[in-house]
Amino acid sequence: MKSGGAIERLVRELSGLPGIGPKTAQRLAFYLLSASPEIGHNLAQAILEARNSIKYCSVCANLTDKDPCRLCDDVNRTPDVICVVQDSKDVMAMEKSHGFRGLYHVLHGALQPSEGIGPDQLSIRQLLKRLEGDKVKEVILATNSNVEGDATAMYLARIIKPLGIKVTRIAHGLPVGSYLEYADQITLAKAMEGRREMQ
């Protein structure tokens, strides 16, 4: 049966997406097919449009549909602080927190010696270019809190500090809402290191 083939294909494509198992894929597929035709149509259109127009921002390397991206172009953001993150997803997470009003730089990964991912595989040259001149006063290293993220932060600190720019690392410690007794030893050690005086 022809339509059976098309449904199966839709389920297969959906279950290839991160975080979506076969059950969820089936549910999504049947929803798309039973809902009004515009819903599926609009979704397909949105995916195609995004896919065809998304590129890397020539300034911050974030994914964008216009170059420079909206964040780099925003005159209300402080241009002298750059927050360095591993992924575009991290920019989105940071923006949702409303805790930062400077600019970003997306590395697209982290140093991983054992996988052959060195400085040249990340957008580090592009970052160094942004630091030329003395527009930038501070670089905040917001790479992940694991061995790869830490190594990347230490590497960047090593090459950026000699330029006379302030380099900071975001604090790592106990997740909000968590119990001390459930924290592992590395997290606890880091939380202790990053302690602050009470106001």
Binding site: P18, G19, L111, P113, S114, E115, G116, G118, P119, D120, N146, V147, E148, D150, A151, M154, Y155, R158, I159, P175, Y182, D184, Q185, I186, T187, A189
Partner: protein
Amino acid sequence: MKLYKVDAIVLRSREMRDADRILTLLSRQKGKIKAVAHGVNKPSSRKRGAVQPFCYSSFLLYRGRELDSVNQCEGIEAFSGLRADLDRISYASYLAELTDYASMEDQINGEAFFLLLTILHLISRDGADVELLTRSFEIRLLDIAGLRPHLDNCVGCGVPVESETVGFSSSTGGVVCGRCSGIAGDVKFFPRGTVEILKLLLKWDLKKTERIKVSPRVRQQLRQIMQNYISYHLEKKLATALFLEKLYYHY
């Protein structure tokens, strides 16, 4: 029993999709094991800390059809001093990759396990001579793997090599006397003192390695000898060795 327990060092911890990691473990009880750890990149995961590279942790593993998976784990030693320094992380990555290459899956290798555990302890101390300890580790691991270079007698004719300059050839596996220097195309010459230090690195207690005084020039020669020898015998240059080179001789 589908569940089994091991104490293991995390040699490699590769990020996969859905917050999973694929681990390569060197265990005391079963040698090298590959296992998947589900969901460990999420902040809520309690296994997160113990599956980081170079952690020495105790694992409860579930035997799967294709790949074993981590049921529970808890850190025994996190080597946090190691994580706080880029040089140490980079060297530790190299030591782990070298050990990975030198070990076979499901083959118990207690000597390699304890050697790695000891070296991780040593290089995670403040002020450790990471480079020299790494050389000492290399020659010891080669010894365990049955690949130790000949350092006393000429690999060509067997006479003791006692001249002031000593030839060394990776392809023939050790030192070469003056008369045999045409034996292979890759013979390079070094002061005898450099080869003597290599012997010391193998013989002395690993914990005393740092008492050996070595000049920057000799360090560079030791690195050259060991790196050539290792890439010749592994038939490849390790990714982490290339990374170390870039870190120190680039940018």
